[in-house]
């Protein structure tokens, strides 16, 4: 009896809680339902409400707009629609007495009238108002050597935030025009029969239609309250879908009510963005003819409205070719998207005088001296002599000036790199494993400084801990009162300001109120960034071991953050589906990179600091231009959320790892996938290229570190103009050849990988005793 009672009590408890949202919700829902029929005539009226609902995703959910030139299927219509949206927004703002915003919006809208539809994006400025201008002015404030350069300041390009129509009911209303629900199954199966009957070469291409059509038809049925029909439809055809869509199908199958649709942002995005298919002209003609013959208007409408078919001339692609590129939440990449020029080359290294004292050190070694100089010239000279044609202009992005300490560090770096071990298939790196012991609270993120002297760990208990990886202990700077007593003229003043009493091997940083998901050291080792579930990114001083700034803006969990290789800037990405570019001295973001359809899970800076790459739960990777906020590369092919990214040291290539256990290699210049590394059996959380780029190391939840021959992978892939133009790649299945080694850890998932300046591989993870 007692046992029975206990669960009973729990049930009531639970019921009370579950009911609250339900009870609170109906009001809204009713309103929405009532609105639905009116929407067509009184669109403006409903928009304000929609806006207030969607404030959290103000930054925009749509993918299409982020691309520099969205191909518009119907010329004028979108513009008109945008105008209407604008008016609605204005009304809403006025009603809420946001006069300032109204003016800004108006000003920008005027601009829009005069200029081309290109600047439609400007309407987003109403929301991100200060950001654009602010960013501009502050970037110009960054002192750079040659201020005279015309490009040194960013042209005022407002934050990219598409405003196409993230409005719920408008989106959903599109589903109201429907055919006979009972015929959906017939439509679908007739198409299915057709595709299965066509020639093999076309079948693979046309099979791509199954998934988007299936989802859209199912959603239409759900939206129009044909619950049972939707369920039947789902049961009948869900088995046909590709296995990599399982996750999406799982979400879909739970969704059987119109009300559910409203709250599901992922599906709203699916609806707003056009699913991209790449089909050869022949296959497309086949399809078109079939649909017209059968008068299968229902399907034709969906294709017209919700799909974007990228037609190319030439041979239809094979199944494996298609499979390698599909899998994302939004279909494939449009070919023209990746055509933009990307300056992936490295910046010219600053000329640093070889310091005299350095030579003094080596003075005894008469032979070593000239040699050393020579090697230095070799390593640095090639870059400094001639400007890499693919490199961006030195001052394309304002970069902070080098301080003396930075120069010293550069010299240290040069010295170290002369002692670097040349890696290769025959010469694999040694691996040092940094095991976090007794990390009961849960290790969530790790980072090393570039010189491998410090190690930071983010933990699920909201703490950040910094360890010294060298015998040198961590010390705080003395208090202000004590600092006053110091002789500021003395030579060792930097040593004197440190408080010897505080020396310890590790320091704890407290401040976050949620798990810390990302940590990143500044290149000068003075700062540490941490991003957390509490929606903030915090900047910590490694001199005082205190928090300096909390950057608020994401408002949702921030999954990752990364410092620019030149310091000052950093990027963060989170649950709000945008990545943000920040400068350490500004509490507001300089850029908002919007376009991902789901959470931004990882962010990395390009070695030349001009680009930012983001990986997302929508299984896509985007490369953003820091200068203008444009998305310049869009990579699809992963079958799961992307959790790790790494640029090759020369900036030409990108590696990405995801929950599907595969590493994909990308050529940034051509915008192509150039390799697939299969082998891991679990999520890949760490990727790193060796210092010279010959080896790629990947670390995974499956407790292994694998080393791949990245040189071979890059060389094997001939990226001629033809493949670049068509985007058709034939990936050789050579993972086993490329795999140079697999190294097991002792029940320790690999959370982070790092190559020291001499090419020793450091791995880090929390030892799991269970």
């Amino acid at each position: 009896i007692i046992r029975q009672k206990i669960p009973k009590k729990k049930k009531t408890y639970y019921a009370a809680h579950v009911m609250t949202p339900l009870l609170s919700a109906p009001g809204k829902k009713m309103a929405a339902v009532q609105d639905a029929p009116m929407e067509l005539d009184a669109e403006k009226e409903t928009k304000p409400e929609i806006l207030s609902d969607g404030t959290s995703n103000l930054s925009g959910n749509t993918a299409s707009g982020t691309l520099s030139s969205p191909p518009l299927t119907a010329g004028g219509a979108p513009k008109q629609e945008d105008q209407q949206t604008l008016i609605a927004v204005l009304q809403f703002l006025r009603r809420n007495k946001l006069t300032e915003s109204v003016e800004i919006l108006r000003r920008e809208a005027c601009l829009e009238d005069q200029e081309d539809s290109q600047t439609l994006d400007g309407s987003g400025g109403g929301k991100g108002d200060g950001d654009g201008g602010d960013a501009n002015s502050l970037l110009s404030r960054v002192s750079i050597a040659s201020a005279a350069a015309p490009q040194s300041t960013l042209t005022p390009i407002p934050v990219k935030s598409e405003y196409d129509q993230p409005d719920v009911s408008v989106v959903l209303s599109a589903y109201s025009q429907q055919g006979d629900p009972s015929l959906y199954q017939v439509y679908y199966s007739s198409l299915k029969n057709f595709i299965e009957s066509v020639l093999d070469c076309h079948r693979a291409e046309l099979s791509q239609l199954f998934y988007p059509l299936f989802v859209h038809m199912y959603l239409e049925l759900v939206y129009n309250n044909h619950e049972n029909k939707a369920k039947a439809f789902f049961e009948k055809f869900s088995g046909d879908q590709e296995c990599y869509y399982q996750d999406d199908l799982r979400i879909l199958c739970g969704l059987t009510k119109k009300e559910h649709l409203k709250g599901n942002e992922a599906l709203l995005d699916f609806r707003t963005s056009r699913f991209v298919l790449r089909i050869s002209r022949d296959s497309y003609q086949l399809l078109k003819r079939h649909l017209q013959e059968r008068h299968n208007n229902q399907i034709w409408n969906i294709i017209q409205e919700h799909l974007y078919i990228d037609i190319f001339d030439g041979m239809p692609r094979s199944k494996s070719q298609i499979d390698s590129m599909s899998g994302s939440f939004a279909g494939e990449t449009r070919r023209e998207v990746n055509k933009a020029k990307v300056f992936y080359g490295l910046l010219k290294e600053p000329e640093i005088e070889v310091p005299l004292d350095d030579e003094d050190d080596e003075a005894e070694n008469e032979e070593g001296k000239p040699k050393k100089k020579k090697t230095k010239k070799d390593s640095m000279g090639s870059k400094s002599k001639k400007q890499d044609p693919n490199a961006p202009q030195q001052n394309r992005i304002p970069l902070p000036e080098l301080k003396d300490s930075d120069k010293l560090d550069k010299i240290m770096y040069m010295k170290e790199s002369t002692k670097r071990i040349r890696l290769g298939p025959e010469n694999l790196p040694s691996i040092c494993f940094y095991s976090f012991l007794n990390a009961y609270q849960g290790l969530t993120a790790v980072d090393f400084t570039d010189d491998s002297s410090l190690l930071a760990g983010g933990f699920a208990d909201s703490t950040v801990r910094v360890w010294s990886a060298t015998p040198k202990k961590l010390r705080k700077v003395k208090s202000a009162a004590e600092l006053n007593l110091i002789d500021k003229e003395s030579d060792d003043v930097l040593e004197r300001i440190m408080d010897e009493k505080t020396a310890s091997e590790s320091k704890n940083l407290y401040g976050h109120s949620g798990p810390v998901y990302g940590v990143s050291f500044s290149p000068d080792r003075n700062y540490l960034l941490s991003s957390s579930e509490d929606g903030t990114v915090r900047l910590w001083s490694l001199q005082t071991f205190t928090c300096l700034v909390g950057y608020k803006g994401h408002n949702y969990p921030v999954w990752d953050t990364h410092f620019s290789p030149f310091g000052y800037y950093f990027v963060s990405g989170g649950h709000d589906r945008v990545a943000r570019l920040w400068a350490t001295d500004h509490y507001q973001p300089l850029r908002i990179f919007a376009g991902h359809l789901a959470d931004v899970t990882c962010t990395r800076f390009h070695p030349n600091s001009n680009y930012v790459v983001t990986g997302s739960t929508d299984r896509t990777i985007r490369l953003w231009d820091v200068l203008n906020g444009n998305c310049v590369r869009f990579f699809t092919g992963h079958k799961g959320p992307i959790h790790s990214l790494a640029f090759s040291p020369n900036g030409k290539f990108l590696a990405s790892g995801s929950t599907d256990g595969r590493v994909l290699l990308w050529d940034i210049g051509h915008g192509l996938m150039i390799g697939e590394l299969k082998g891991h059996t679990d999520t890949i959380y760490a990727l790193k290229f060796s210092r010279d780029g010959e080896i790629l190391a990947s670390g995974s939840m499956d407790n292994t570190v694998r080393l791949w021959d990245s040189m071979k992978a890059f060389d094997d892939m001939e990226t001629d103009d033809f493949t670049a133009a068509t985007g058709h790649i034939h990936l050789p299945d050579n993972s086993q050849e490329l795999l140079l080694g697999m190294y097991h850890s002792k029940s320790t998932p690999v959370t982070h990988l790092h190559f020291t300046r001499r090419n020793l591989l450091l791995a880090a993870g929390a030892y799991n005793s269970q």
Binding site: P7, K10, K11, C253, G254, L443, G457, R465, P557, P749
Partner: protein, 652 residues
């Protein structure tokens, strides 16, 4: 949150097998509604059930990303809570557990529930085993692969909060504890000796400390207490052990022996005084050698001693312990704590001492013990203070004119036993306020070093000539021969005088008239009267002193005195304020009590001067002796450390 999960599991799998997820059936919804007193129609229940299912699935989907980003494989309750929080749903209260909660089916009926056993907090709190899993998070490097080849060198074990002991160590531990706490004195000696010098027992330290902390459970057994204290001593003396924070634990155990009214002290036959003396010595030893390991230890000790002293409810043996402890901590401690407290304390003590009733005899005897201890402490205070003054004066530090320099000056100049070397590093005021906070009776804040003459005058008003006599009979401050030369002398004389002297001192712990029938009349070797002025009779005096069975600390203290002639300081002490007894050896009288006219407390009436033939006074001691034949007697041969230096003995 567990209830949510349990509900999902409670729910029957739907009839349609294709749907691979659980559903909450509407019966459950209705049941839940009923239990809150809401009647639901079939239709509403169905709708609710579906919505609940959807929301639960949605939350579960969302929670998985928290798991992924936390780089875990297992979805935790916390992940689910976060998902709920971010979807603006009130989270279910409660705590998640790291481990999976097992589901249990109920045999009757299809009911599943989470096994959520009640935890007995009392049991948990009093459990003796230290819970594991609180070790510090740390990073360790290991070269896993060298040039692509696996490194076979073992990685070592994960450090845990409780290191498991090796077999050998465990055996050693058992042997040692058995030997020390066992019956065989020889074994004990060997064990203690090993404990004192073994370099490999660091891992056992917490265990030994734990054993020692068992003093509280054996407070009835003096012998065991003694053994445990010896264990402390051995551990403290072991040069290979780093005591660290265990010092605190050891100190608290020792303090227990010093201050607590031990169960053993109920029986007056038990010589708990000696134990307290020894513990006090040990305390000072720990403090001098390891005091720097724990910050603020000095003040904590002082504070607890002072608390005991100022608590009139405490038995006299506790007060005795406090005085003895202060004495052991050095003359500065006495000056800071005991001396200012003396006026307040005196009234209580005097009341005890003045009570002649038979029923009070025991308490009175204890009171005399305390009196004696205070006297000894005060004596050294005066001596050391004088010494420090002379040093300050002579030492060339012209800028430090003695008393005016305050505590700092003393510290700098103090030598030998007196000051704690560095724990006093905090400013004196800080100490004072700290003590003040502890509820001291004396105005600590206004504490200023009292000048030596003033101090002497005040003390004289309490102790009268018994104080003065001690000074005048003591070796001249500067002229004390080194202990090396004294010891053999004592050693030689002791056999002759040891037994009777011992008997005498034991019989006369009280400062009563019986005093003057002491050594002389008993026919002890030092028969001649020793007028206070006769400072030159060193052998006799030292013999008298040594009669108190052992004078290790005494000789130590005297040996540590600088070999300077300090005639100047001696002048500070007034000679006894009565005419020197010219009457001859058997007939001399002196004042034991002080003249306390000006003070609040009354003078000790019975302590007037008396002649050596007081028939009246001979009786009470007899009575005591009869009643308490063996106060302070130890059943075993007196050991080296039992310094009965504190037992009152007037060397007349």
């Amino acid at each position: 949150c567990t209830s949510l999960f349990s509900d999902i599991t409670n729910a029957k799998m739907t009839e349609r097998e294709e749907r691979r997820f659980a559903e909450v059936p509407r019966e459950s919804i209705k049941l839940m509604a009923e239990s809150t007193g809401v009647e639901l129609s079939e239709e509403v229940a169905t709708l609710l059930a579906e919505d609940v299912c959807y929301r639960l699935r949605e939350a579960t989907q969302n929670s998985s990303q928290f798991m992924r980003h936390a780089k875990r494989r297992k979805l935790s309750v916390e992940d689910f809570n976060r998902a709920l929080r971010w979807s603006n749903t009130e989270t279910v209260c409660g705590y998640g557990a790291q481990d999976a909660l097992p589901f249990r089916p109920l045999k009757e009926g299809e009911l599943f529930f989470v096994e959520d056993r009640e935890i007995n907090l009392v049991e948990l709190a009093l459990a003796t085993n230290i819970p594991k899993g609180c070790a510090e998070t740390m990073v360790r490097v290991h070269v896993s692969y060298l040039d692509g080849k696996g490194n076979l060198e073992p990685q070592g074990t994960v450090p845990t909060a409780v290191q498991s002991l090796s077999e050998d160590l465990l055996k050693y531990y058992q042997q040692i504890t058995r030997a020390i706490l066992g019956e065989d004195p020889h074994l004990m000696k060997v064990a203690l000796l090993d404990l004192q010098s073994n370099s490999k027992i660091a891992a056992l330290l917490p265990y030994f400390v734990y054993v020692i902390s068992g003093v509280k459970s054996v407070s009835h057994d003096l012998d065991q207490l003694n053994r445990l204290l010896h264990m402390v001593k051995s551990l403290v003396q072991n040069p290979y052990l780093y005591l660290g924070s265990y010092v605190r634990s050891l100190v608290s155990s020792v303090m227990y022996c010093i201050l607590e009214p031990l169960a053993a002290s109920i029986n007056p036959l038990n010589d708990h005084w000696t134990l307290r003396d020894y513990a006090a010595l040990l305390l000072s030893h720990i403090f001098w050698t390891h005091g720097d390991l724990v910050s603020g230890l000095y003040h904590q000790i002082l504070l607890s001693l002072q608390k005991v002293l100022s608590d009139p409810v405490r038995p006299l043996c506790s007060h005795y312990g406090a005085v003895v402890g202060l004495h052991a901590l050095g003359w500065k401690a006495v000056e800071r704590v005991l001396y200012p407290h003396l006026p307040a304390y005196w009234a209580n003590l005097q009341a005890v001492l003045d009570d002649y009733s038979v029923s009070n005899a025991q308490v009175k005897a204890d009171g005399h013990k305390v009196y004696g201890a205070i006297l000894v402490a005060v004596e050294r205070l005066l001596k050391m203070k004088a010494l420090s003054l002379t040093l300050a004066a002579e030492g060339g530090c012209a800028g430090l004119p003695g008393t005016a320099t305050g505590a700092v000056g003393f510290r700098e100049n103090s030598l030998g036993l007196s000051p704690p070397p560095e724990p006093l590093s905090e400013p004196p005021l800080g100490i004072a306020s700290h003590l003040q906070a502890g509820g001291a009776g004396c105005p600590w804040e206004e504490w200023t070093p009292v000048s030596l003459p003033a101090m002497y005058c005040e003390l004289y008003s309490f102790f009268g000539d018994s104080l003065a006599v001690r000074f005048s009979t003591d070796p001249p401050l500067g002229g004390a021969p080194p202990s090396g030369s004294r010891q053999p002398l004592e050693g030689r004389k002791e056999p002759a005088s040891g037994a009777p002297n011992l008997e005498n001192t034991r019989k006369m712990p009280q400062l009563t008239a019986s005093m003057n029938i002491s050594p002389r009349q008993d026919g002890s070797p030092c028969m001649e009267p020793q007028p206070p002025s006769l400072a030159a009779t060193v052998p006799g005096r030292s013999l008298a002193r040594s009669s108190s069975s052992s004078s290790v600390s005494r000789s130590r203290s005297s040996s540590s005195r600088p070999g300077r002639s300090t005639s100047q300081s001696r002048d500070i002490f007034p000679k006894a304020r009565f005419p020197l007894p010219q009457v001859g050896p058997p007939a001399f009288s002196f004042i034991i009590g002080g003249r306390q006219m000006g003070r609040r407390c009354q003078g000790r009436r019975f302590q007037t001067s008396f002649t050596p033939t007081p028939p009246l006074t001979t009786l009470p001691p007899r009575a005591y002796a009869h009643k308490l034949p063996v106060i302070g007697r130890v059943s075993k041969p007196v050991r080296r450390w039992t310094c009965s230096h504190y037992s009152l003995h007037l060397p007349l």
